[in-house]
């Protein structure tokens, strides 16, 4: 049984993008139902290290605290996951908190994940509607098609899949599983399919879908259980088909 009096944490801190990282240790009173975000709030209210030294509150991203906004992703005991749904009683202690390693650190546990939003632009992850004026109902959709689309549409852009991917590095420029899965979502939508070719072309070449090494880490860490590897193999097949047909048309 873990200590029910105190919770020990080790937190990797970094003052700014160029500063040298350092570790700080904390010990806070245990409470039933605590999660990592409530620990960080507790530290903010009383920013003193385990050694009794005054320090600053930890900078971290958070918003909804119910695992749907995608903000509070970090490395918890080495694993990419959301801090809000990381319950203290289920974690090995001391709890080790680090910022994502593959994104630029802003400060402490906060990192810059703009790259995903840029990738979503690159793959045109939207349905090209004509306008917002009244044009009547949307396309009919079977229950089966809706049930296939919905899980893909639950991606919270947390970037855990990218952090965990061995191919997601500066040198490959790999677009990552999240954006590829969005390509599948929009290419299967009746109206979204209008941009299918452009999306597939965006995934060709360097940094495209070919960089995937099928390590399957993405699907392993995804907090929303999105079938990412199925998306990658499905979209991968489409990319090859598109490349061949483009080549024949030349």
């Amino acid at each position: 049984m873990a200590d029910q009096k105190n919770v020990a944490l080790k937190i990797k801190r970094q003052d700014n993008p160029t500063a040298k990282p350092r570790w700080e240790e904390f010990e806070i009173p245990w409470k039933r139902g605590m999660n990592v975000t409530s620990c960080l709030m507790e530290i903010a209210a009383s920013p003193v290290t385990r050694q009794g030294t005054a320090t600053t509150p930890i900078t971290y991203d958070s918003n909804c605290l119910e695992e749907v906004c995608g903000s509070c992703a970090m490395l918890i005991n080495g694993r990419a996951r959301m801090a809000c749904s990381a319950l203290v009683d289920q974690l090995e202690r001391p709890i080790r908190l680090e910022p994502f390693s593959k994104f630029p650190v802003v400060r402490d546990l906060s990192v810059d994940r703009t790259v995903l939003f840029e990738n979503l632009k690159r793959v045109k992850a939207w349905v090209p509607v004509d306008g917002t004026y009244d044009l009547g109902a949307g396309p009919r959709m079977s229950m089966d098609d809706q049930e296939a689309a919905y899980p893909l549409s639950r991606c919270i852009s947390c970037c855990c899949c990218m952090e965990a991917c061995p191919q997601f590095t500066e040198s490959t420029g790999f677009v990552g599983a999240a954006a590829i899965s969005q390509v599948r979502l929009f290419n299967t939508h009746p109206t979204g399919a209008a941009l299918k070719r452009e999306r597939l072309v965006a995934l060709m070449g360097d940094g495209g879908i070919q960089e995937c090494g099928y390590a399957q880490n993405c699907v392993e860490v995804c907090p929303k259980d999105i079938p990412l590897t199925r998306s990658i193999s499905q979209v991968g097949g489409e990319v090859i088909k598109q490349a061949l047909s483009d080549w024949f048309r030349k």
Binding site: N16, T37, N63, C64, L65, T132, D134, G136
Partner: protein
Amino acid sequence: MALSNPRIIVVGGGLAGLAAVIKVAEMGGHVDLFSIVPVKRSHSVCAQGGINAAKNLKGEGDSTWQHFDDTIYGGDFLANQPPVKDMCDAAPGIIDLLDRMGVPFNRTPEGLLDFRRFGGTLFNRTAFAGATTGQQLLYALDEQVRRYEAEGKVSKYEGWEFLSAVLDARRVCRGICAMDLRSMAICTFPAHAVIIATGGIGAIFGKSTNSVVCTGSSQSALYQQGAYYANGEFIQVHPTSIPGEDKLRLMSESARGEGGRVWVPKKPGDNRDPKLIPDGERWYFLEEWYPKYGNLVPRDVATRAIHKVVYEHKLGVDGKPMVYLDLTHIDRKVLDRKLEGILEIYEKFVGDDPRDTPMKIFPGVHYTMGGLWVDFKQATNIAGIYAAGECEYQYHGANRLGANSLVSCIWGGFVAGPEAVKYARNAFSPASDGHFEAEQKRQEDINAKLMRADGRENPFLLWRELGDIMTQNCTVIRDNQNLRATDAKLVELLERYQSINLSDRTQWANTTIGFTRQLYNMLQLARVIAQGAALRDESRGAHYKPDFPERDDKNWLKTTKATFAPDADEPRFEFEPVDISLIPPRARKY
């Protein structure tokens, strides 16, 4: 000369803000979009159950008029009626648009949109995408905005916090002042019009179902600059939330819409496993007290009933302030198809599977019906500033019906966007005479003062005190003596705020200073809530005073309007008649 391509600032990237952005961009305007978080992470993602529109696809004879009537009646006749009617009339078209944008709404076997029942209506009027409808709607609008961003029509300022409006000598809005939450730089941005869409104020109550950014700080800053704040005393306490250490997590009304039943053991202190308690020994109090609507009475009614059962009948589960919300009689496949998102939240955060065991829930602060005062065109009383979404007061009267918030956000944004463009095209904008510099200096001075402050008060601890007193006295049950004591406490907290001490004085990604600024604004707005509640000697919707248990239309069928009196540093109140031109008020009995 009229401007054909005005520059509009939108503050807030939830549903209301993004809806406004899309309309402005579509009309040829350029948008600068400001948000504390990347807009895809806005609080709208937390909306679960669905969005109302009377599409009448279930052969029930539903109509937009019926939706309008349910909304007005549900709001206990406090809302001005014409804009509510417009919203209900527009709702079916909004659903169609969202459907065209690719929202994966649940379907019927024929491939049409499915609808379920929500509180305060007898019709299946709520379209839904699993139990993460807000997330799906926000993503659809986010994607359209990203498209406009790629086309250069929208510039995003994510990671910036709105501090104040820049007003000229005529008190006309000329732009905003905002802080970069990384460099902590304070800058001003000019605009021909500004749309505020900054959401809720849950943080004033400490723990709520709201997201971290929902502090009401922007609304409060504008109120302190002269904007009216209306009906602040109307706070929705959602009957079913999951108590937690860091927040109260929402358990959607859709759980009851799909057949969930609320009950407690009849015998006090009965601590058997709930599944072993036979039906005859369970008290389904909502079904007994409200046979017509059952578990789907409006939220204010359900919340008061739960309070009564727990505190007067002393029947809370395990002797604690909790009741059961039971889904275990419903087929697992149906639950997974229609409610998975919320069941997953309960499973992950509590550790029990609600398909197998009844959930333990309790009311929690959820929504503010009150907000910035706006006219029927979503314009605040400050020329050039519009507001849409939860941050304004217009659509929900004294109590909001479930699944009406998403439609009011989008509709409000769809009105505010074009109205702001129209205003901007006709705006007379003489060269500014130092107003931008003056506002920037005022805000920089606030930061400098906070950084220097050498007192003993910890902002996070002051905030806890604020949350505790507001939750205790300004939620379900209100009493004038306690409300006056609350206001006195708020004055004390404002005084202690003057001797604050920041534990972080660095100039990079300093979250403490941002929070401390928000705290000041929360304290000022809390006084509007507490004093407004003290003044309103009646019971209406979410505002319930046992000493004045009846609705009093003769004296109180009025909108509360608070203005900030800078000299006295506190609110002043005036009251405005409600437009009841379409549906005559009648007694509200479910």
